[in-house]
């Protein structure tokens, strides 16, 4: 017995502390396996108060708030299985973020793309993007994306062209300003909205701007599908020309090449082949029987969705 603290007892207590810490960590691990921490996170995004309310509550730190929320949205999105009903909260979260920081161009752009391409909620995507137009007159991405939505998802070429023209007017060189082809694309949209070539150019432009793998995949699928349509239209035009010049239907597609109407028969993008019904003169694909009506109709205001 001494006046000093017995060193033994203290180290024993430290051991106890270590033990307790171990138990704490164990329970944490156990809890992690148990309840999806994810649910809680989603809940929080859903519970987010409206931006107008949150903004004053952040006492001037609303930009940081927007960043922080954006990070949450990104990580929740990153490893989620897409469930349709969950995109309501995504829109809500994006709405809050863009209210906190109305100039957060990337949030509009990426959010708009995710909503339209992954969530198939063009309505929400457009709502978000349109909200971003006024505070960001120098962003070409927002009108570009709006144009894309109107072109592909709503088949409204006129408005798509309007938005693209707006994007094209943003000064500066790419990537500060719009890509060079934007103005040309707008012009072509005004003239021939239902031309698959225009669509392909638009898609290629979109693909250029997109880094997210999921969305790139989506765009690439679309490009394939439109390419198929373009090929079919090209083949049909060749058949038409054949009939006009020879007054008889071509017996096979190869004849079109022989007649010099085509340089070659294009490859079917899905790995199938193009077939010609010599009785009717119809050209079809072995993989897709349905046609994309959008590009056949001469009415550029067609509003039906295109099959995939």
């Amino acid at each position: 017995m001494r006046v000093f603290q017995p060193a033994m007892r203290i180290s024993l207590l430290w051991c106890c502390a270590g033990l307790l810490l171990g138990i704490v960590v164990l329970i944490q691990l156990k809890l992690e396996q148990h309840s999806g921490g994810r649910i809680a996170k989603l809940e929080q995004l859903r519970l987010l108060p409206r931006g107008e309310v949150l903004r004053p509550a952040l006492l001037g730190y609303h930009h940081v708030g927007a960043d922080f929320l954006w990070l949450r949205v990104v990580q929740v999105l990153g490893d989620r299985v897409v469930r349709d009903q969950d995109y309501e909260w995504l829109y809500h979260a994006l709405d809050v973020i863009t209210t906190l920081d109305p100039k957060y161009v990337y949030a509009y752009e990426a959010g708009g793309t995710v909503l339209a391409e992954l969530a198939a909620r063009v309505d929400l995507s457009n709502q978000l993007l349109e909200k971003g137009l006024a505070p960001n007159p120098n962003s070409w991405q927002i009108p570009f994306k709006l144009g894309f939505n109107h072109f592909f998802h709503l088949n409204n070429y006129r408005r798509a062209a309007d938005y693209l023209a707006q994007a094209a007017r943003v000064p500066g060189e790419f990537p500060i300003g719009p890509p060079l082809y934007t103005a040309r694309l707008a012009a072509r949209l005004y003239a021939q909205g239902n031309n698959p070539d225009v669509a392909l150019e638009f898609l290629a432009g979109m693909l250029d701007q997109t880094t997210d793998e999921k969305i790139r995949g989506q765009l690439m699928r679309r490009i394939k599908r439109v390419s198929l349509e373009r090929d079919l239209q090209m083949l049909e035009r060749a058949v038409q020309q054949f009939v006009e010049t020879r007054d008889t239907r071509p017996p096979s597609l190869a004849k079109l090449v022989e007649a010099g109407l085509l340089a070659q028969i294009p490859h079917e993008p899905y790995g199938g082949e193009y077939r010609l019904d010599s009785a009717t003169g119809d050209v079809t694909s072995s993989t897709h029987s349905e046609r994309m009506r959008v590009y056949r109709s001469s009415d550029s205001m067609a509003s039906e969705g295109d099959p995939e």
Binding site: L13, I27, L31
Partner: protein, 255 residues
């Protein structure tokens, strides 16, 4: 020994009851809870949710404020005012003093939370909002969070000034609610940052675990085993903090 700890607790409780801060916060909380009635009049649609939201958040927030700002003074005030001299010289071990002070504030918080919950229950009853078992589960976990935060404040107040304790405890509170997100974010970082964040995540209290507010509002089930695990998590963590506080306090000189 338990009787002696209890008499320190009751003395501490009495002392806390004299804190003006306590009443200010309590009144503020009750006003917040009450104001949810007004807010629910101007909202469209789901006012149940609004009342529950505001009510639970108020109970939580004001409980935390009380736990922090009363908790940091628990020990340092006794040292500053030298009242601790008369206690440590009595035949009770120092840890008993610490435990007494801790439970004194826990009793204070219990009384406070009870008042706030009562206020909320009245509002819920008046507004015809259904009261579920989940609601009480959520209150229970809020209280558990308060116990952990009190222990954090107590730990800091055994070796730093009140001001520093307040800052540290607030820091732990904020990190405790963010560490889960930090861990998720870390998945996209390099290994060293990941390791650091993982240590922070597992060693610091994960206060998000005690947050059932979302569950209550959306009526999501919180299973009994989850509840048991969460409770044991909170109690073990508080125990760990008290043990550390005890070790530090035992070695401390009272100047």
């Amino acid at each position: 020994m338990i009787a002696r700890i209890l008499s320190i607790s009751l003395n501490s409780f009495r002392e806390n009851l004299r804190e003006k801060l306590l009443y200010n916060l309590l009144i503020f909380a009750l006003l917040m809870i009450g104001s949810s009635i007004l807010l629910s009049r101007i909202t469209i649609g789901d006012y149940h949710r609004l009342i529950l939201d505001i009510g639970l958040a108020s109970i939580n927030l004001f409980g935390v404020l009380i736990a922090i700002f009363v908790g940091i003074g628990l020990v340092s005030k006794e040292i500053d005012r030298k009242t601790i001299y008369t206690i440590v010289s009595k035949p009770i071990p120092r840890y008993a003093f610490l435990l007494g002070k801790y439970f004194g504030l826990v009793i204070t918080l219990l009384a406070n939370t009870a008042v706030m919950v009562l206020g909320l229950l009245v509002v819920l009853y008046v507004m015809d909002v259904p009261i579920t078992g989940l609601f009480f589960q959520s209150i229970g976990l809020i209280f558990l969070e308060l116990m952990v935060i009190t222990a954090v404040a107590l730990l800091f107040s055994t070796f730093t000034s009140s001001t520093l304790s307040a800052i540290f405890t607030l820091g732990i509170y904020v990190i405790g609610h963010m560490s889960g997100d930090l861990k998720e974010l870390a998945k996209k970082l390099d290994e060293i940052s990941q390791a650091i964040i993982n240590v922070v995540y597992y060693v610091l209290p994960n206060l998000e675990r005690f947050n059932l507010k979302g569950h209550v509002i959306h009526g999501l089930d919180f299973g009994a085993s989850d509840m048991a695990l969460t409770i044991s998590y909170g109690l073990t963590y508080a125990g760990l903090l008290l043990l550390l506080a005890g070790i530090i306090f035992q070695r401390r000189d009272f100047q």
